[in-house]
């Protein structure tokens, strides 16, 4: 029992969690600390935005799938309309997802967005329009991921409900049929 509890408490995917947090932290840290070391705005901009972009990709494509079992993307169908697609693991696997993993996933997403908002307020106060540009880009990337995954999660819940009701309906039908066949 104890061993089971211990394994449940650990992260199931430490490497993925690490990378999930790594680029976020790196981009925030670089932005904040760069003011001390680096004079050139261009370097600060390019490195920070590059790290933020890396983080966006990692979250969207890797940690989303592994840590919480969700994925979202955009497709253009034959008629030229844009379609947002959401995908999730089936109910059973979702239930088996490590709680710590998903806690880390969601909270770091929110915390990063809040941090960027704070930094935006700072640069507004100091009237630094160019730094506001950097913060703006990073913030929009974070928010895009948050919105995408939240929609995906809602969609997943809806699908689960539909699936559950379908299963119940099919069970009912089959049991009714078997009842009638017996009679």
């Amino acid at each position: 029992m104890e061993r089971v509890q211990t394994t449940e408490e650990n992260y199931a995917n430490p490497k993925t969690c690490l990378f999930h947090v790594l680029f976020k932290a790196a981009s925030l840290a670089f932005y904040i600390l760069s003011a001390l070391f680096i004079d050139s705005f261009v370097i600060i901009f390019v490195v920070t935005v590059f790290l933020a972009a890396l983080d966006f990709w990692v979250v969207k494509n890797v940690s989303g799938r592994i840590l919480v079992g969700l994925r979202w993307w955009n497709e253009i169908d034959e008629r030229g309309e844009s379609v947002w697609k959401f995908e999730c693991l089936d109910q059973e696997s979702l239930a088996r997802m490590n709680k710590k993993d998903s806690w880390l996933f969601w909270w770091t997403l929110y915390i990063t967005a809040v941090a960027w908002i704070f930094l935006a307020i700072f640069s507004l106060i100091r009237f630094q329009a160019d730094y506001l540009l950097v913060v703006g880009v990073c913030l929009s990337l974070s928010i895009a991921n948050i919105v995408g995954f939240t929609k995906c999660r809602k969609d997943a819940k809806k699908q689960i409900q539909q699936f559950a009701s379908q299963t119940i309906a099919s069970h009912l039908t089959s049991s009714l049929q078997s009842a009638f066949s017996i009679v």
Binding site: A12, N13, K15, T16, F19, H20, F23, S40, F41, V42, F45, V46, V49, F50, A53, L54, D55, F56, W57, V58, K60, N61, V62, S63, R65, I66, G69, R71, W73, N74, E75, I76, D77, E78, G80, E81, S82, E87, C88, L89, D90, S93, A129, D130, L133
Partner: protein
């Protein structure tokens, strides 16, 4: 779901949709191996057992060289039993083919690069699909545009003799805002385009300008610079025209085209003005007979928004 009753949009995205549908319909949930398919677009990438291959921007990305090959140091022992069942489930649920799940990082990276190159070729170079906007740039991605914008900004900033950071910030802001405004403009003119697809297209059209900026940076002669700028400007316009024009009603084509040029005029202006030669900008302006670039855009915007009844689609 079979191939025969749908028009293949683009081989890669079609195979994705097929895979997803196959997996949804499949009864077997053990780690089924899907029939080998041509590599699907990066969208599906990311080997689960191999975790991250950090790639930047929006959808697929070009890799940075420093990616520590996330070595599947993932203790093979631990990963194997957990990994295989997980891969099985994930591949069923996610619709990604097993080969992309377990492919090494380098393969993912190569695929992303290939996608960027193919998008670039579609937009900027002559090819048989240009005239058919329905098939071109279906697999939009924002990585290419991201790199081109940054590159263009960096080049402009490098060649600026003063106020380098300001030049970079202004270039980036103008390029990004300009792409968004142009897209909105086409939308307001009643065109049928998708926001991100159009952003992606405009980003790829910056490629000639980026080359032009690079050449101008290396080359000292003013006359050559003017020629290069004009040529790359024309190339950009040519690249954008079919997509924009197909999206917009023919009567509005001219307006949409005119809108494309002033923006290019700004970039050309940035390049040469920083070398304190305003001739290129004058040339651009007189060629297309636009007064002030921003004014033209504002005027079009004003007409569209304030007097919509005058224009029927």
């Amino acid at each position: 779901m079979s191939h025969s009753d749908t028009i293949p949009l683009h081989p890669s995205s079609q195979s994705d949709i097929d895979e997803i549908e196959n997996l949804i319909n499949a009864d077997v949930h053990s780690a089924t191996v899907l029939p080998a398919r041509p590599p699907s677009p990066p969208r599906v990438s990311i080997p689960i057992s191999h975790s991250a291959s950090p790639l930047p921007p929006y959808q697929k990305v070009p890799p940075s060289a420093s990616l520590p090959p996330i070595v599947p140091a993932v203790p093979a022992a631990a990963a194997a039993p957990a990994g295989s069942s997980r891969i099985g489930i994930s591949s069923d649920a996610f619709g990604s083919s097993p080969d992309t799940l377990t492919e090494p990082v380098w393969d993912t990276v190569k695929r992303d690069l290939a996608r960027i190159v193919s998008n670039l070729k579609l937009v900027v170079f002559p090819n048989p699909f240009r005239e058919d906007p329905g098939r071109a740039l279906r697999d939009w991605d924002l990585w290419g545009p991201f790199f081109f914008i940054v590159f263009l900004g960096l080049t402009l900033s490098w060649s600026a003799s003063a106020k380098k950071s300001e030049v970079f910030a202004v270039a980036f802001a103008i390029l990004a805002a300009g792409a968004i405004i142009l897209t909105l403009n086409v939308l307001l003119l009643g065109g049928h385009i998708i926001f991100f697809q159009s952003l992606s297209l405009l980003g790829y059209c910056l490629f000639p300008l980026a080359i032009g900026a690079l050449i101008c940076m290396l080359e000292g002669n003013v006359i050559i610079k003017i020629v290069v700028v004009s040529v790359t400007l024309a190339w950009s316009c040519w690249a954008a025209y079919p997509f924009m024009s197909a999206a917009v009603n023919p009567r509005r084509k001219a307006l949409a085209l005119l809108n494309r040029n002033p923006e290019s005029g700004i970039f050309a202006g940035l390049i040469t003005v920083v070398d304190s030669a305003k001739i290129a900008r004058l040339i651009c302006c007189s060629e297309y007979d636009c007064g002030s670039n921003e004014e033209t855009e504002r005027r079009i915007f004003f007409i569209r928004v304030v007097r919509p009844n005058k224009y029927h689609y």
